[in-house]
C-alpha cells in the first residue's frame, strides 16, 4: 500500500506540474483582398457535395461563403448537387448533372453531407477525399501555403443574342511536373433562387451559390499531358457551348483546374473567370 500511495502521488503530481505553452493564434486576416493574387499564386478548389433536401447543407454553404470572404480569389468553390439529397422538389429545377454524379462516385461516393473535397486530395487521417465541414478551414489554409506548379488563364467570348459561349484556357508549367495530367472545365452559376430544406424548414427562395451547371470536358477531365510538363511548357484548350435560357449569364463563371490522374487526383491549380469580366 505504501508503494501504491507513493506512486499515486508521483503520477498525479507530475500531471499537475506540467504546463504547456499554447499555440499562438495569428491575427485575424481581413480576407483575400489584402493579398495580391497573381497567375502564379496558389489557388485552392473546394468541391462541395450538396442537395436541396440536405437539411445541414446550408450551414456548409454558409461556411464556404465565410471562407471565400477570408481568402478571396484564392479559394474557388463549386457546389455539386448529387446523391440521395439532390432530387428536386416538385416544380423545382433540377441541379443534378451526369458529370456531378460521376464526380461523386470518383471521389468516394455518397457519405455524410455536407462534405467537401479540397484539391481532390486524401489528407492524413481521412478515409477518402471527402472531409467534414469542421476541417475545411484547416486543410484550405494548409493547401494555400503550397506553391503553384502550373498557371491557368481563362478568356471567354459570350454572345448574349445567340447565348454562345467560347472559352479558351491557356497556361504553362512553373516547375517540372511528372505524370499524366488532365484538365476539367466547368460552367458554374451562382445566386440561383430556388427551394432548399433548412433547419427552419423548406425555403422557396434560397440563394444557391456556385452550382455546377455543366462540364465542357469529361467528368474525369480531358487529357492535357500524357507524360507531364517540362518547365515553361505551355498548353491551350478551347471549348464552346450554348447557355440554356434558364441560366442567368451574368451569374455564370467558368472554372478550370489542372489535376493529376491515376492513383492520385490532386488539383495542381484552379482558376475562375466570370462571364461579366
Amino acid at each position: 500500500m505504501k508503494k501504491l500511495s507513493f506512486l499515486s502521488i508521483i503520477v498525479f503530481a507530475l500531471c499537475f506540474s506540467c504546463k504547456e505553452i499554447q499555440p499562438v493564434i495569428p491575427p485575424f486576416g481581413d480576407g483575400g483582398g489584402s493579398v495580391i493574387v497573381t497567375p502564379e499564386s496558389r489557388k485552392v478548389l473546394i468541391e462541395e457535395f450538396t442537395g436541396v433536401s440536405c437539411v445541414n447543407c446550408p450551414q456548409g454553404a454558409a461556411q464556404i461563403e465565410d471562407l471565400i470572404s477570408i481568402h478571396g480569389e484564392s479559394l474557388i468553390a463549386i457546389s455539386i448537387h448529387a446523391g440521395f439529397f439532390s432530387s428536386p422538389y416538385p416544380g423545382q429545377q433540377d441541379f443534378r448533372t451526369e458529370e456531378g454524379s460521376a464526380i461523386l462516385n470518383l471521389l468516394g461516393g455518397e457519405s455524410s453531407y455536407p462534405a467537401g473535397v479540397i484539391n481532390r486530395k486524401i489528407f492524413d487521417g481521412e478515409i477518402d477525399h471527402q472531409v467534414g465541414q469542421a476541417s475545411w478551414a484547416g486543410h484550405i489554409a494548409n493547401e494555400l501555403t503550397e506553391d503553384a506548379k502550373v498557371t491557368i488563364d481563362i478568356s471567354t467570348n459570350y454572345n448574349s443574342e445567340t447565348r454562345k459561349l467560347d472559352i479558351d484556357v491557356t497556361g504553362g508549367a512553373i516547375e517540372i511536373i511528372d505524370g499524366a495530367l488532365r484538365i476539367s472545365v466547368m460552367v458554374v452559376e451562382t445566386n440561383i433562387k430556388d427551394k432548399q430544406l433548412t433547419p427552419d424548414g423548406l425555403i422557396d427562395d434560397y440563394s444557391h451559390k456556385h452550382v455546377l451547371r455543366d462540364m465542357l470536358t469529361d467528368a474525369t477531365g480531358d487529357e492535357l499531358a500524357l507524360e507531364g510538363l517540362a518547365v515553361n511548357e505551355t498548353y491551350e484548350k478551347s471549348y464552346s457551348m450554348v447557355l440554356p435560357e434558364a441560366w442567368e449569364s451574368g451569374n455564370c463563371s467558368v472554372v478550370a483546374f489542372v489535376h493529376e490522374t491515376g492513383t492520385t487526383t490532386t488539383v495542381l491549380q484552379a482558376e475562375e473567370h466570370y462571364l461579366g469580366e
Binding site: K3, I70, N105, G109, A141
Partner: protein, 565 residues
Amino acid sequence: MKYRHLFLCMFFFVAICQLNYAQENQGGRFSGDLVANGNFFIRDTAIGAANTPQYDHQLFGAETWLNLRYSNWGFDVGVRFDLFNNSNLLNPQGSYSAQGIGRWFIKKKINNLDIAVGYLYDQIGSGIIFRAFEQRPLLIDNALYGARLKYSFNEDWSIKAFTGKQKFNFSSYSPIIKGAAVDGYFASDEEAGTNWSLAPGLGIVNRTIDDETMRNIVSSITTYNIADSIGAHYNTYAFSAYNTLSVGKFSWYIEGAYKTQEQIFDPFAVRLAKDTTNSPSLGKMISVDGNVLYTTLSYASKGFGVTLEAKRTENFKLRVDPFVELNRGAINFLPPMARVNTYRLNARYNSATQELGELAFQADVSYAFSKKLLFNLNFSNITDLNNNLLYREIYAEGTYKYKRKWQLISGVQLQNYNQEVFEVKPKKGIVQTITPFAEFLYKFTRKKSLRMEAQYMFTGVEWGGTDFGEFKSDNRDLGDWVFLLAEFGIAPHWIFEVSDMYNIDPSTEGAKANHYPAVGIVYIHKSNRFSVRYVKQVEGVVCTGGICRLEPAFSGVKMSINSTF
C-alpha cells in the same frame, strides 16, 4: 513494411514448428477464429437499393478477419489478418478495399509485471475516460497501438500505464494517447460474519495533439469572427474515480469523470460570419471542460432482480482530434442508457448517446413468479440538460414456459423517440410508438423446434404525457409496421428462417406499402457456422452531430462463416 513481413514470416515459422513440437509435448497452445462475410448486391430501385458502386457495377463485397493466437513459455502472441473487398461497412454509400495485418500483439508476464505491446484493447473503469474496443458491424476498431505495463502488487491491487496512438484502419491517428489506472479490492472477513467488498479505482488519460493537427486547428480558429475565437490546447486530461460496493445482495457502482478544457467541435453552436454581412451558420469549435457522473444500483436475490441506473453528461466529447466525426476517433465510451432491444420492430428506434449534454435514468425489474413464469419491466428516460425529452421507453415482457415443450414470450413496448434531435429532421419532433410483440417457441422433439415472432408497431399514438419540452409529438415517421418471423431448427445442425417486415400503413397518403422479406439458412457443424440469407432491408437517414448520413436500403444475399479452432 519489410520488417513487418519478416516478423510475420518468423512468427508463422516458429508457430508452425512449435505447433508440431507442442502437439507432441503439449508445451504451447495454438488457437484462432475466422469471420468472413460476403454480400451479393441485387439492385432494387423500388426500395432505394441502387446508385452505389456495389449495386451499379461491383455486385459483390466482402470482409474477413482471421485471428491467430499462440501461447507458450509465458508468451502470448497474436496476429489478425483483415480484408475488405468493395466493402460497404466503412461507408454504406461507398466502397472500401484494403487488406493487411489489422492487429498484432505480444504479451509476456514476468513475475508480477504484465507487458503488452502491439494493438491492445483495454479500458479504465466503465470506459468513460478510456476504452479501446472493436465493434465489427460498425467497423469500429480503435485499438491502442502502443505499449502497456501492468504491475500487480498483490492479488487485490494493481497499477497499469499505457501509451500509444489510436488505430485508424491500417494506420493510426497522429495524436498520442497515454494513461494510467490503479485498481484495488477490499473484502470483509467472512469468518467474522460480514459480507461486503469494495473495488475502487482511479484513472487518468492524456491526449496530446500533434503539430500537423494543431496547425489545422489554428488555421480553423483564425477564420472565426473575433467573438468566436478560442485558444487551443495541445493536451487534454481526463480523470476518473470509480468504485463498486457490494453488500450482501446489493451492488452499487459509481463513477465520476472530469475532462480539462479543450477545443471540441460543436455542430450546433452558432458561428458568426467573418464578414458580418453574411448570415451566421452552425458549427464551430468551442473550448470547454466536461464532466460525467454515472451510477448503477442493483439488487439480486432468488427470483428477483432490480437495477437502477443514472447518468449525467456535460461536454464530454473525447476524441483524437476535433475534426473526426460520427463514431470515428473516440477515445472513450459513454454507456448507453436505454435497453438493448433484440426484436426487429422494438429495435427500430434507438437513442444515440449525446456527448455534449444528457440526463438519463433507467430502471429494470425482473421477477420469477415460479420456474414457469417470469416477468421483466424496464423504464428509461433521457433528456437534454434543458429538460427537453430525447427518449423515453416503457418495456414490459412476460415469459411462460410449459415443461420443456413450449415457451411463450409476450409484451409491449412504448417509446417516445426524438427524431428531430437524433436524426436532425427539423420540425419532426417526437415519434410515439406502441409495439406489442410475441414470441412462441415449440419443441416437436428434442431436436426439432419452431420459433415464431410477431410484432406490430403503431405510430403517432399518444401516451405518457406531454412533457416533451419544445418538441411536438405527432410524428409518424414512415408509418405503421408489422413483422413476422418463422424459424425452424433441426438441432444440432440446421436453422431455417423466413421473415417479412411490412410497412402496413404508410404515413404518406398514396405511398406504396413495401415488403422487406428475408429468407435464410444456417448450418452449424462443431465450431463452424455457415449462414446464407436473402434480405431486403429498409433504408434510413441518420443525422448525428450535425452530419447527415444515408444508411441505404439493402437488397441481396448475405453469406457469413464463423469458425473457431
